[in-house]
């Protein structure tokens, strides 16, 4: 059951091979067995999950099911789910029970999917190794000494260890794609505005986007079918025509123009990873695609720009955690100011505080023009690079991350080294473009992800291109030793 696609699970449910309750129980037992070690989940609530499964079984019985009905989905703990503790990986929200559903959660509920639990993550989604979580680091199922990547590290480890058949993540600078690369599965960050941000706890509002995480591109397509859609509760949500991301999966990639940006293969990229990526590109060539050398000349500016814009927005987004209305409040304090200071000092971790400080600094009078405004201008230049590139090609490909999974604690005390993990993913967030990571090979028995970048709202095409690769290769079906 653990290596079945979402389509096959759906088939099993329809053919009564197993019920949703049995399926949910099966995965809950796996979570029980492995989570102490891997730490992929922050909150598990068997009662709630099984109640949803029971309801799903009645839907299936009465023929009102759709593809995801009855299927357990692990939800990143950044999505508010009514009645569920929703921590965002922070002591600040340790006691926070969400009183409402995020739109993404609503959509899964509407089709009768089962919430399997809330997955671990870097605190407020700030991190690339899942080491900033208040709830402790997540282990990479391929090697427990290594990090799973971040910030959606819990969802990533859950998929890799097959503790859940599907999961959600969010991606502000690479938080779906980098862990997908490091843990060896498929993860998609949609076009900004395709999936509603309502109820998704904000890190950097102009960059945050939720997306699916699952073994295959086909699974991701099935999940995206549920997640995508215009939402009046999110003013930045785009009114894009509803698409069925499953229908174009089997199209041929013959004649597909793949842009290969030279800037993604320069200094900083691990040689062995580069080899894997080049092999994957060759596979596409063999399948009839055309490789075109392109340039994204402002790539080197993506990280500096990101680390101005994202902290600026975060510093403001996180102001609401002040101890006044909900969440953590320092136990002892002298007056209002003291309460603010102590609450935020104690309630936030180091990385979050670092970014609040950076953000506050770049927005300050006298620095705003030099940092924030300039960063916004460069952001436009980065978008223009892509616009030009997509005149020459249909999809862009390169590595998702500069290396395979790295050791826990290796980069923890070196923020800059950590930030470089997202060097290939960040520019798509800045441009608002969709991006995807799929397993492309292994280095030292560790997965390597191939990144696909599509043009705006070309998720369908991107998923088709990814699916074609997964028809030729079986990297996406590889699982860590000891998992089965």
């Amino acid at each position: 059951m653990i290596n079945l696609s979402l389509k096959s699970l759906n088939q099993g449910l329809l053919e009564k091979k197993f019920s949703s309750v049995e399926l949910t129980q099966f995965f809950l037992e796996r979570v029980q067995k492995y989570n102490t070690d891997i730490n992929a989940f922050i909150t598990i609530d068997e009662e709630k999950s099984l109640a949803q499964a029971k309801y799903a079984d009645t839907l299936i019985q009465s023929g009102k099911q759709s593809l995801l009905t009855g299927i357990p989905v692990a939800q990143k703990d950044i999505f508010c789910a009514a009645g569920w503790r929703t921590t965002c990986g922070s002591l600040m929200l340790d006691n926070f029970i969400a009183p409402y559903n995020a739109t993404v959660i609503d959509k899964f509920n509407q089709v009768g999917a089962v919430n399997l639990g809330k997955t671990n993550m870097d605190e407020f989604a700030m991190g690339s190794s899942n080491e900033t979580s208040y709830y402790g680091p997540v282990k990479n199922p391929w090697n427990h000494d290594l990090v799973p990547g971040g910030s959606s590290g819990g969802s990533a480890a859950a998929i890799a260890a097959r503790l859940a058949p599907a999961a959600t993540g969010t991606d502000t600078g690479g938080s779906i794609r980098q862990p997908a690369s490091l843990c060896g599965f498929s993860g998609l960050k949609p076009t900004y505005g395709l999936v509603s941000r309502f109820g998704m706890i904000a890190f950097a509002s102009s960059l945050d986007q939720a997306g699916p995480m699952a073994p295959s591109a086909e699974d991701c397509a099935a999940l995206l079918n549920v997640m995508a859609g215009h939402d009046e509760k999110d003013s930045t949500s785009i009114n894009h025509d509803k698409e069925d991301y499953l229908v174009n999966l089997d199209q041929s990639v013959k004649g597909l123009r793949i842009g290969v940006p030279k800037e993604f293969f320069e200094e900083g990229l691990d040689g062995q990873v580069q080899q894997v990526i080049e092999e994957a590109l060759n596979t596409y060539k063999k399948m009839g695609a055309e490789l075109i050398n392109i340039s994204l000349p402002n790539t080197h500016l993506a990280i500096p720009v990101y680390y101005v814009i994202a902290p600026a927005e975060a510093s403001s987004n996180l102001s609401r955690y002040d101890g006044v209305r909900y969440g953590y409040r320092a136990k002892e304090y002298d007056d209002l100011m003291d309460m603010y200071f102590k609450t935020r000092q104690q309630g936030f971790g180091e990385e979050v505080k670092r970014r609040i400080l950076i953000g506050t600094y770049v927005l300050s009078a006298g620095y705003y023009d030099a940092y924030y405004l300039k960063a916004q201008k460069i952001r436009q230049l980065i978008s223009n690079d892509f616009k030009k590139a997509f005149q020459q090609c249909d999809v862009i490909m390169g590595p998702s991350a500069p290396s395979v999974a790295f050791k826990a604690n290796e980069k923890k005390s070196d923020p800059l080294a950590m930030y470089l993990q997202d060097i290939y993913t960040i520019s798509t967030n800045l441009a608002g473009l969709p991006g995807m990571s799929i397993p492309a090979g292994m280095v030292n028995n560790l997965p390597v992800g191939l990144q696909l970048i599509g043009n705006y709202f070309k998720e369908s095409q991107m998923l088709n291109v990814a699916h074609a690769f997964q028809q030729e290769t079986d990297w996406h079906q590889k699982v860590p030793k000891g998992v089965i």
Binding site: A202, S235, A312, S316, S319, Y368
Partner: protein, 477 residues
């Protein structure tokens, strides 16, 4: 030394919408604390703002009413600061690109027209309230008001006295109600003014350092606060002191102002465009649609009064100072009384009685129909202007009276019968022979004295025009 006073006003106008600026929560006043605080008002994790289109319509209405330019693209920004009644830790406001720019409002002071320039008007959300003293030693927070839609209207420093400032504030107060964007309730905080005051030596072109008096919610306080502040600034400067830029509060009980925070302590609000909201796009079609629902504006009506009714521009502006006054006037002339006389009577006797009795025109005891009837009796010479004043005063005391009955009752009916006047003139000429002689020997003044005697003899009821004519005829013959 002589000083120039320079005043600019920022007014927070609470917009008359059903729901909040960025959420569906109600904005009804006076509800149980926090009963109107939805998840957005409470700034729960994950919630997002959605702009209330009705508030945008209000801003456009204001722009149209003040002949302003309406930005086709404006931006919502975040104003960041920490305070318990500000749940998000930032206020959403328009900073660099507001929706309304460069409007104007014409006011009249000391019988003169003056144009006050409106620099900008922008949309923003209100904060909540801190409640002290409900629980001993603790502060409560009521977030019912948090997120209430406001239009902040900022003038250029165009006013030069407390009187002008008050006239502007009143005019603005009337206008926002006239165009239906604000209920005007100052007690409930629907209309609050921040007043920037500075002084400079007479004729000096450079502006002095200004201090901002916060949150004045009555016209009387605006006057008192400015008067106090101006005196304080002048005294300080004349004593060789210097003014520091500051935000100050007015204490209505002592009538004094005191500094709240100085510029050195001023917050750095770290404004930046709110990434949760797209730029606000206003199309010509939106503006045209709103235009078609705009009431005729006071300035347009005033112009019409001047052109069509021949009123002076001063009278026309005064008669359009509020919708109620305009209605009273138009109702009155509908009954057929002369426009000029009606204007005189409303702006004269009626206004002074209202003022004396501290009444607004909407609670005036005299009805337009009655005033019109009174004026018609002047026009048809039934009563003299002086007699009409007596009738008016009597009517004020007994508002239900019928005009002709009242004139009879008071015995004020004018004598226009030439036979009767003839007789009185003869009598007066006989008893005042010396005056008649004086006139005949060339002293013209004696003529007026004789008219006075005739009027006196008729107890004021004789038609003065007729008296003059008859007297003249008899003296010359």
């Amino acid at each position: 030394m002589e000083w120039d006073i320079v005043i600019g006003i920022e007014t927070h106008v609470q917009l008359r919408t059903h729901s909040k600026q960025f959420s569906g929560a109600s904005v009804a006043y006076g509800s149980e604390p926090n009963s109107q605080a939805c998840l957005v008002s409470l700034a729960y994790p994950g919630v997002l703002p959605v702009l209330n289109k009705a508030a945008v319509d209000c801003a456009i209405r204001f722009g149209l009413a003040t002949d302003a330019s309406i930005a086709r693209r404006s931006i919502f920004a975040r104003k960041n600061y920490f305070y318990p009644d500000l749940p998000k830790g930032y206020q959403i406001s328009q900073f660099e690109l507001p929706i309304v720019n460069h409007g104007k409002l014409t006011i009249i002071t000391k019988d003169q027209e003056k144009e006050v320039r409106i620099l900008r008007a922008h949309l923003e959300e209100d904060a909540g309230k801190s409640l002290h003293g409900i629980v001993q030693g603790k502060t409560g927070i009521d977030l019912n008001r948090a997120g209430t839609p406001l239009l902040e209207i900022v003038t250029e420093p165009d006013m030069s006295s407390a009187e002008e400032a008050v006239v502007y504030a009143k005019k603005l107060h009337e206008l926002v109600q006239w165009i239906g964007i604000c209920d005007g309730n100052m007690q409930e905080g629907s209309f609050r003014c921040d007043v920037n005051v500075s002084v400079k030596k007479k004729g000096e072109t450079k502006l002095g350092t200004r201090r901002e008096i916060k949150n004045l919610n009555s016209f009387r306080f605006i006057k008192q606060a400015i008067d106090y502040e101006v005196n304080w600034q002048i005294e300080t400067l004349e004593d060789g002191g210097k003014i520091d830029q500051a935000t100050i509060l007015f204490n209505p009980e002592t009538g004094e102002t005191r500094a709240m925070r100085s510029k050195e302590e001023a917050n750095d609000y770290r404004y930046f465009p709110d990434p949760d909201l797209l730029p606000l796009e206003v199309t010509d079609a939106m503006i045209d649609k709103i235009k078609s629902t705009m009431p005729e504006l006071p300035a347009t009506i005033a112009e019409r009064f001047e052109k069509e009714l021949g009123l002076s521009s001063y009278d026309a502006l005064e008669l359009t100072s509020s919708r109620e006054v305009t209605n009273f006037f138009t109702e009155t002339i509908k009954f057929g009384s002369s426009a000029k006389l009606s204007a005189n009577w409303i702006l004269g006797s009626l206004f002074s009685q209202l003022k004396e009795n501290d009444l607004s025109i909407s609670s005036c005891p005299i009805l337009p129909a009655q005033l019109a009837a009174l004026i018609k009796r002047i026009e048809d010479q039934t009563i003299s202007n002086n007699a009409a004043k007596k009738v008016f005063d009597a009517l004020w005391q007994k508002p239900a009276s019928e005009i002709d009955g009242l004139i009879d009752e008071l015995g004020l009916k004018q004598i226009s019968d030439s036979g009767a006047i003839d007789q009185i003139v003869d009598e007066v000429m006989q008893t005042n022979i010396s005056m008649v002689d004086e006139f005949k020997s060339g002293k013209d003044k004696a003529f007026n004295a004789l008219v006075g005697q005739v009027m006196k003899a008729s107890k004021g009821k004789a038609n003065p025009t007729q008296v003059s004519e008859i007297l003249k005829k008899k003296l010359i013959n």
